[in-house]
């Protein structure tokens, strides 16, 4: 089968790679990629990435500095809480971008190997007659890219038009505010598609196993419909084979009696057929066993096209290979997870913090309080919605994909056992049990640096966390506001009727409705 070759999946990453290369996210060699579709480290690329890092950091800081006038006001307005949160969160976006680029630099020698391994797996799959369809990858990448660009541009442009004073030339610096998130999204698209490729391979293995089961079932059905007359002729052979299987036992005589007794009993129709097939299949698959004992109708041989009923050694080899491949894909998954562990951790932290902060600032904005200048998009609820959807979508998609991949890998064991059950053959059972134990120990649980696993339960926990933190933040804010009002009122010696109190509570209740609803909305459907 040497004439058939497999395409490396990197062929479909062309557009994405160009984006990453031009923007200075990845340092890999462009020519090597274009010519051979491999990722190789390159010194010029490293220098270019370093230069981009420097440029973006400088520009971003300049942006923060030039928009800092409002922040000074914020400090003076004594909303310390908002100010501190703002300072802390202003830099997390930049930090995220730096982590991405740093890990890209760090991994540039290892990442090529990863894709090489995936290609090797593809080749082996092909040897097992499993063709992995990767043509959809480039389409998926394009869709993701388009979504990212649309979201970024909408947020940037609408914020710029509505909320930034665009009469000053310095406001053009605002463009840099979207750089960190955009870089991050590109990196995550790359990760997501690689992960998806792994998931697809797991899926292909499972379908292959399922296919075996199905073809065998078809065969059985054929035997059931066409084999009525065969049943009577096969009966003697059954007893003999079962003795044969038990030949090593001391008390074989006893068993023999049992077996004969068992098979002479009147029974309903279907179950004995299944049974006789099992034993019959056994005798067929292991040619060393005494053939002459079983009287085989010649036509029966021709329909044995199911893979599971081929020579037992071949079946064993086949299943073994699939298990090896499963193991290999699991290992690749682990490596992939390791390469991207820091970026994922930072992304999740970023998602959590930004989600909370954005909602909090939205609250502040509805209460006509000052908010940090970089979070000005929170002044408009629609932009906030888009922004939150974009951030949450990024995080949730990754979590969902990891969860699905993990589940898919776990399903292989079940499919394998189905093969065993459907063939119902002692030797095959032994093989399947052995392999199944092996499969139980392969696991791909994607985690962020081991801090938490990337599955949906984490998402459930996180959405609860966001809600409770938000409530606490708002409570602090309320308390601070009330204290300020009290001081204010005492200064002006106005009547001590706290009018804002009731208003605040109502507004708070309103906000609860929004936060609760939005926290529910974070759960994907």
């Amino acid at each position: 089968m040497a004439h058939r070759t497999v395409q490396p999946i990197l062929v479909h990453f062309g557009t994405l790679f160009m984006f990453c290369k031009v923007l200075g996210l990845y340092p890999h060699d462009l020519q090597a990629f274009q010519r051979m579709h491999t990722l190789q480290g390159s010194k010029i690329g490293t220098a270019f990435v370093c230069a981009t890092i420097l440029a973006v950091v400088v520009a971003y800081n300049f942006l923060i500095y030039s928009f800092a006038d409002e922040d000074r006001e914020l400090k003076e307005a004594q909303s310390t809480l908002t100010f501190v949160i703002g300072i802390f969160l202003t830099y997390i976006g930049l930090g995220m971008m730096l982590t991405d680029q740093w890990s890209a630099l760090r991994n540039q020698s290892k990442i090529g190997e990863l894709y090489e391994r995936i290609r090797a797996v593809d080749e082996q799959l092909l040897r097992e007659n499993i063709v992995v369809d990767i043509s959809k990858t480039s389409q998926r990448i394009l869709i993701m890219l388009a979504l990212t660009v649309i979201c970024e541009v909408t947020i940037l442009v609408s914020t710029y038009i509505i909320l930034v004073d665009y009469t000053k030339w310095i406001s053009l610096l605002w463009i840099f505010s979207c750089f960190p998130t955009f870089y991050n999204s590109l990196d995550k698209i790359w990760f997501a598609n690689t992960l998806n490729a792994l998931r697809q391979r797991f899926f292909m293995i499972n379908t292959a196993l399922d296919g075996m089961v199905e073809s065998h079932e078809k065969l059985k059905r054929w035997a059931n419909t066409g084999g009525d007359s065969l049943l009577s002729t096969r009966k003697p052979s059954i007893a003999n084979v079962s003795i044969d299987a038990s030949i090593e036992y001391l008390y074989k005589d006893f068993t023999h009696m049992e077996a004969v007794k068992k098979f002479n009993m009147p029974r309903n129709k279907i179950t004995p057929i299944a049974h006789s097939l099992n034993f019959y299949g056994e005798s067929f698959e292991t040619p060393k066993k005494p053939y002459k004992l079983s009287i085989q109708p010649p036509s029966f041989n021709m329909v044995y096209e199911s893979e599971l009923s081929r020579d037992i050694e071949k079946v064993e080899e086949n299943l073994n290979n699939l298990c090896q491949l499963h193991d290999e894909i699991c290992e690749i998954g682990k490596q992939l997870n390791e390469l991207w562990s820091y970026p994922i951790l930072v992304l999740m932290a970023y998602g959590f913090l930004i989600f909370t902060a954005q909602l909090y600032f939205l609250y502040c904005a509805t209460q006509k309080q000052n908010i940090p200048s970089l979070f000005r998009s929170a002044k408009d609820p629609y932009i906030t919605t888009i922004y939150l959807c974009y951030t949450a979508g990024k995080c949730i998609y990754l979590i969902y994909l990891s969860w699905k991949t993990s589940l898919e890998s776990k399903r292989t064991g079940i499919c394998l056992h189905k093969c065993g059950v459907v063939a119902d053959n002692n030797l095959l059972y032994e093989i399947v049990n052995h392999l199944s134990l092996k499969l139980l120990n392969h696991s791909v649980d994607f985690s962020a640096c081991g801090f938490f696993t990337l599955d949906m339960e984490t998402l459930y926990g996180v959405s609860g966390g966001i809600t409770s933190y938000l409530i606490i933040l708002i409570q602090f804010n309320l308390a601070a506001q009330q204290a300020k009002d009290a001081i204010h009122n005492a200064d002006e010696s106005v009547s001590a009727m706290p009018t804002t109190d009731g208003g605040n509570t109502t507004a708070l209740m309103e906000l609860f409705t929004t936060t609760f609803l939005s926290s529910i909305h974070t759960t994907p459907y």
Binding site: S246, G413, V422, N426, T513
Partner: protein, 479 residues
């Protein structure tokens, strides 16, 4: 599926007509499915934008208006998500489910035929609890609907229908979908318990079965003369088995008492206890036939039922999420309103009382339905796990049919291993966010407590005063 539930879901437009026929008129099938949401949206629009609502009544204060808004929007969210998920589930699901179920039932029937010669295995179940549960559920729902209609008809007369559509309909619809889920799960659970009975039968047979005459003879020989190599092994085995029997009996009786405590399920009463040991002896004496040849098909059945539950969970698990979320929100706010408003100024404003009572009623109802769903899922999980345990027991006892050949041993081992894989792969869950079992109750209760602590800190007295509702304590003081 239960007939009542089926009719309700048909009327509420949550299930297409002719759901199990492939080629029927789409327009007819989906007519009500399309009409109901349009009606709902129309009512929602009317209530929100043309002043036809509780919160536009003159006596409705800010608390009342806010809480009615929340109730309405949560209901809208619940209904719309559930509706769209229902739309996604087309007829294919029902057809597929029926097909697989009949397949399973056929196989089960054959297994029963093999195992059960005297029809003693399946005695009719006690249905008392089942009817009791249904009565409670129906009464609660009838009361909720009646209360809403009754209250609203005071204000709007026959037009109360519009208001009811917005406040009551979404929760009823959500509950019906959960009910459908529960009924499917209970169907699955029933199959599992039937399977367990069959497994148990094999277990008991291997447990109580007299050793075959040949072996008995050998054993007697061994008693006379222990120098024989081969027979000694067997007699050892037999002795060990006897010891096992006694032990197992003790364990079994414990199990049974436990089961009696925990198993009072809604749609299925565990029939594990339906038979007694004596019947087995009888069967065995009459003919020496055993049902262990059922094992392969039982394993296959177990696998099939599990894949059926995967299918059901994939369809209904997603709908659990909005329902549980709505239940959570409504419950928290009902406790909050009850303690902070109702407790202090209850009975002073009729409209406000009405809205707060709606909260209480719906929190109770949704919690109840949610609890039933969780319990059924938990029971099903337990049943499927029990099969693996029984198989292990059989394996431990080394019954006579296993002596002769490895194949049974390997089969059972394969089955238990496969069950391990299944355990890692599947559990009833809401799209992976939470497992649908009792742990979910624990996590929601703890979350609800922390939210409640935060919420109960708010001082509502100022707001209440603003609305002209003086708390009882203050009014007595002023007097």
């Amino acid at each position: 599926m239960n007939l009542l539930l089926q009719t309700c879901s048909l009327i509420f437009g949550l299930m297409p007509f002719n759901r199990t026929q492939v080629d029927s008129n789409i327009a007819v099938d989906y007519s009500l499915v399309l009409v109901m949401p349009l009606l709902y949206l129309f009512c929602y629009y009317t209530v929100n934008f043309s002043g036809f609502s509780v919160r536009h009544l003159p006596t409705c204060n800010s608390i009342c208006s806010l809480s009615s808004k929340l109730l309405m929007h949560v209901g809208c969210f619940l209904y719309l998500t559930i509706y769209f998920l229902t739309l996604l589930r087309q007829k294919g699901f029902y057809i597929e489910f029926e097909k697989r179920l009949t397949e399973i039932d056929e196989l089960v029937g054959e297994c029963i035929k093999v195992a059960d010669t005297q029809n003693k295995l399946f005695v009719p179940k006690k249905k008392r609890l089942y009817y009791f549960t249904w009565i409670i559920i129906l009464a609660t729902f009838a009361f909720a609907i009646f209360y809403d209609i009754n209250e609203m008809s005071q204000y709007y007369g026959p037009y109360c229908f519009i208001s009811n559509m917005v406040f009551t309909f979404p929760y009823v619809a959500g509950s019906i979908v959960q009910g459908m889920f529960a009924s499917y799960v209970s169907v699955i659970s029933e199959r599992f318990s039937t399977l367990n009975i069959l497994f148990e039968k094999i277990n008991h047979e291997s447990d109580k079965r007299n050793l075959p005459i040949a072996v008995m003879d050998i054993e007697n020989d061994a008693h006379k003369d222990d120098t024989y190599g081969g027979p000694a092994v067997i007699s050892d085995l037999a002795r060990r088995k006897n010891r096992f029997q006694q032990k197992q009996k003790g364990v079994k009786s414990d199990d049974r008492s436990n089961n009696n405590d925990s198993d009072f399920a809604e749609d299925e009463d565990s029939a594990d206890e339906a038979y007694s040991f004596d019947e087995y002896d009888e069967t065995r004496l009459s003919d020496g036939k055993t049902s262990e040849e059922n094992l392969p098909s039982l394993f296959k059945l177990h696998d099939k039922i599990l894949s059926l539950s995967v299918l059901v969970n994939a369809e209904f698990g997603a709908q659990c999420v909005p329902y549980m979320a709505a239940c959570f929100v409504i419950t928290i706010f009902s406790i909050f309103l009850e303690t902070k408003v109702m407790f202090i100024v209850g009975g002073k404003n009729h409209v406000m009382d009405y809205v707060i009572y709606l909260y209480v009623i719906w929190s109770f109802t949704t919690m109840m339905v949610g609890y039933f769903v969780l319990r059924l899922c938990c029971n099903t999980n337990a049943h499927s796990k029990q099969s693996a345990m029984i198989v292990h027991e059989i394996m431990q006892k080394k019954p006579t049919f296993m002596l002769g050949n490895d194949v049974y041993y390997n089969k059972m081992k394969a089955f238990t291993l496969q069950f391990l894989h299944w355990e890692g792969y599947f559990q009833f869950n809401g799209i992976g966010l939470f497992a649908l079992d009792y742990t979910f109750i624990f996590s929601t209760v703890s979350a609800a407590t922390s939210y409640l602590i935060v919420l109960l800190q708010f001082d509502m007295t100022a707001t209440l005063k603003n609305e002209g509702l003086t708390p009882k304590v203050f009014s007595t003081e002023s007097n």
